[in-house]
């Protein structure tokens, strides 16, 4: 398990990556289109030399972040788009997923399968936990009225989780 940086904040930390190149996508807030971001991120990660296992981790994390942005951030309003910004440098790949919402209010606690089985916890609600568990850095930044974003980073030097 790699060292991780995670959290929910109202102040951006991860902007301004020096000497990086970037790719930007704008997706409609329509479920299914998260696969465009997922597959783009996977292509970039493979080009950078990430292992298949890390690429799979990133694919799930990016898909979950986009789904959260579409469902919770933009309330599935297809007039609002989800932004995906991939920034690459020599050793890491950062993915920011932006939406028009207020950002998540809840924490990223691990799901309790026993509570789910007993009906004491919703079966859904695992997306943020999975993102946090699968990438090296994860944070959720709330900055209304401009919107909010999830930021994820994987490092080439870190082994798979």
């Amino acid at each position: 398990m790699s060292n991780k940086a995670t959290g929910i904040t109202d102040k951006p930390k991860g902007s301004g990556r020096a000497s990086s190149s970037s790719i930007e996508l704008r997706l409609p807030s329509r479920l299914g289109y998260e696969k465009v971001a997922m597959n783009t991120a996977a292509s970039v990660a493979r080009l950078m030399g990430f292992s298949d296992e890390r690429v799979d981790d990133l694919k799930t994390a990016v898909a979950e972040a986009c789904i959260n942005a579409m469902e919770h951030g933009n309330k599935l309003d297809e007039g609002l788009s989800v932004g995906v910004i991939l920034s690459m440098d020599a050793n890491s790949l950062e993915v920011k997923v932006t939406d028009n919402g207020d950002g998540p209010k809840s924490k990223t606690d691990a799901p309790d399968i026993d509570k789910k089985m007993l009906g004491e916890e919703e079966a859904r609600g695992m997306g943020m936990f999975l993102i946090q568990a699968l990438v090296d850095e994860a944070e959720w930044v709330s900055s209304p009225p401009e919107g909010s974003y999830a930021r994820m980073v994987i490092h080439l030097s870190n082994p798979a989780v």
Partner: protein
């Protein structure tokens, strides 16, 4: 890019001993749109079913909403006293299922033969 339709086929396999095994073979995507396919198909099984085998080998995309449907199905199966085994998950989704704790309620097997044998 629309989501791929979830397809579920159901078949019954004879067991070496005991109750037959009902196999639910999934293909396509398993997402929030899959409730009718996943839960609907499960609810259509007769109450006499005691052993259920989930085949994920043809699933192309699975997200947390799809995993939640699998959990919903396991909750219902637990209440009916049914046993669920699974096979066909990629190494990545085996890891994800383990992370969210599903492996406390279903065992993940490499292939169909091993999963069927585990019911005995």
């Amino acid at each position: 890019m629309p989501e791929l339709v979830t397809r579920v086929t159901v078949e019954e396999l004879p067991a070496a001993s005991g109750d037959p095994i009902t196999v639910m073979r999934f293909s396509g995507d398993i997402t929030s749109a899959s409730q009718p396919a996943v839960i609907g198909t499960y609810e259509g099984l007769p109450d006499s079913v005691k052993r259920i085998l989930l085949d994920f080998s043809k699933v192309e995309y699975l997200n947390s909403s799809g995993i939640a449907l699998v959990i919903q199905m396991m909750i219902a199966a637990s209440k009916k006293g049914q046993k669920i085994n699974s096979f066909g998950l990629s190494p990545h989704f085996k890891k994800v299922f383990t992370m969210v704790g599903i492996t406390k309620y279903t065992t993940l097997h490499e292939d169909e033969a091993t999963a069927c044998a585990a019911f005995e």
